[in-house]
């Protein structure tokens, strides 16, 4: 089976995170861990800068964490026009204590009450859609 995001590749960055998107499309949050020194390597890359290994294990991680920072977007920017009708929307950067405090970006889902730095959040996974450029998307929800 081919993945949706593979047909809609966004180019120009490091682009070592295909397994992240494959995981989300399969409904699982997977993050890369160096096969040698076991360090969490995020954003995904091709070589572990800590020990020099080229091998990573993509490990399933429970999608829970706390808000590191966020912004509420009030303008439909050029390259994310797909979200025009959702403006204003909140994008959250959450830290995952169970995965070396790596920080993952996701659009907030559900009620905004209690939105604050440090607030606990839980991840849900949206299947690929036009809004997320035909990529699957991790969504952060405030824990109630």
């Amino acid at each position: 089976m081919s993945y949706s995001f593979e047909q809609h590749k966004i180019v120009g960055a490091i682009e070592a995170d295909d397994d992240y998107w494959r995981g989300l499309e399969d409904g699982v949050l997977r993050l890369p861990r160096c096969a040698s020194c076991r360090g969490w390597t995020w954003p995904a890359h091709f070589r572990c800068g800590q020990c020099g290994s080229w091998d990573f294990d993509w490990v399933a991680v429970e999608p829970k964490g706390r808000i590191f920072t966020y912004t509420r977007t009030h303008y439909a920017f050029d390259r994310v026009l797909e979200r025009r009708e959702d403006v204003p929307y909140v994008t959250v950067v959450a830290e995952l204590p169970d995965a070396g405090n790596v920080r993952l970006i996701g659009v907030l889902k559900g009620d905004e009450a209690g939105l604050a730095i440090g607030a606990p959040v839980r991840g849900a996974i949206d299947p690929p859609s036009a809004k997320s450029k035909f990529y699957p998307a991790l969504r952060w929800e405030l824990e109630r």
Binding site: P43, T73, H74, D78, T91, V102, I105
Partner: protein, 394 residues
């Protein structure tokens, strides 16, 4: 004189001797293409210096500049192009271009180096290509983040909510920029009498940023000419010596999609500032005037924190209108109006203004300014900063 120095061999070895800055246009309205604007800025800088434009033999720009020297040469009548370089990343590279120029000059590869930036929205789709450079990763774009305004808003939210930098500090930088713009005929914001009401009522862009927290987006071009210190002494303008212009980023920085580890909410310039002071032999308390790159105002506050002008918890007390304006504020910033109120061509307008302060020709002159700081794009994946000095600072 400094008693202890760990200076670089580049300290004071080169100087800026010519500046060119053509009038800015509202974004998308330049009647001329960006290549022509680049030619105008470069020829203006040569005229200012009293240098034959054909003798420029080195060309440096940064980010995704499109007016490369190969296209400029035929119209400049360039006798020989001996050095050409584009400095990595985005606006972070601004001040670091001076280091590249110094390297070329000191190693004998070029004698007269033009550093320039030219942009028109019509030609290069600045917002999409020339600023963002189409290198925004899927992690951002999938999650509704496109613009530097949004990405830097993430940092500002942390700076304000977690570290407690108050809104009044942001407003003071805006107010100071517009205050200075009133005297600058080039400034696109010169007619705006900035008040807290206007600031607060402006539309929200990406929280915590409202409209006036953001740099303007303009069509325009600017250029400075760099030569050796020896050559500078024989030219017509008062030289602005390059004391230090480090570029780079700390370990744990770089293209990390909001995963910067050592520190996050400021500008990523602490290590650069440390090098700046070490290489120049001066410190933050010695600086007379500063052109602080403000892609967004909170990031500029981050730059000032990283440079040691004040601590995070002092931002509210330090950032007041009185402290930030010429002639006698504690640290007059953005004396041309800067990126917020003069106009924004990827920060390039800041270097000419830093030079004017050394020459004594700014429209908002700090009397007797000897040490003039200009910072590169804060929060960029790599950044830079530069200290210019008058002859008596060498």
């Amino acid at each position: 004189m400094m008693t202890e120095r760990n200076v670089s061999s580049m300290r004071g070895a080169t100087a800026i001797v010519g500046i060119g800055q053509i009038p800015y246009y509202k974004r998308g309205t330049s009647p001329e293409p960006e290549l022509k604007l680049a030619l105008r800025a470069i020829t203006q800088a040569a005229d200012d210096a009293g240098i034959d434009v054909r003798d420029i033999d080195g060309f440096i720009s940064y980010a995704s500049e499109r007016s490369d020297p190969a296209k400029l040469m035929p119209a400049l009548g360039t006798r020989e192009c001996r050095f050409a370089s584009l400095v990595w990343i985005h606006g972070g590279a601004l001040a670091g271009t001076l280091n590249v120029a110094a390297g070329a000059i000191l190693s004998g590869q070029a004698d007269i180096v033009a550093i320039y930036r030219s942009m028109t929205e019509g030609n290069s789709q600045r917002l999409r290509v020339a600023v963002a450079q189409n290198d925004t990763s899927s992690q951002y774009l999938v999650n509704g983040l496109d613009s530097p305004a949004q990405i830097l808003a993430l940092r500002a939210q942390r700076l304000m909510e977690h570290h407690g930098v108050p809104r009044s500090a942001l407003f003071a930088t805006v107010q100071a920029s517009y205050y200075h713009a009133r005297n600058n005929s080039r400034a696109l914001g010169r007619a705006t009498e900035m008040t807290r009401e206007i600031y607060d009522e402006a539309r929200m862009i990406s929280e915590p940023y409202r409209l006036f927290d953001c740099s303007r987006e303009n069509d325009g071009a600017a250029c400075v000419l760099v030569v050796s210190a020896e050559r500078a002494r024989d030219l017509r303008q008062t030289p602005a010596y390059v004391l230090s212009a480090p570029m780079g980023t700390m370990g744990g920085g770089g293209a990390l999609e909001e995963n910067w580890r050592p520190y996050y909410a400021t500008a990523g310039q602490k290590e650069l500032a440390d090098r700046l002071w070490r290489e120049s032999g001066y410190g933050s308390k010695d600086v007379d005037v500063a052109q602080i790159y403000m892609n967004m105002d909170a990031m500029g506050i981050g730059s000032m924190i990283d440079h040691g002008f004040f601590a995070m918890e002092e931002a509210g007390a330090f950032c007041t209108l009185d402290n930030l304006i010429a002639p006698s504020g504690r640290l007059p910033i953005n004396t041309s109006g800067g990126d917020l109120a003069e106009g924004f061509i990827h920060g390039m307008g800041l270097i000419p203004e830093a030079v004017r302060q050394i020459r004594g020709t700014s429209v908002n002159q700090v009397p007797g300014a000897r040490l003039s700081l200009v910072t590169g794009g804060p929060g960029d994946l790599m950044s830079s900063t530069a200290l210019l000095g008058s002859a008596d600072t060498l």
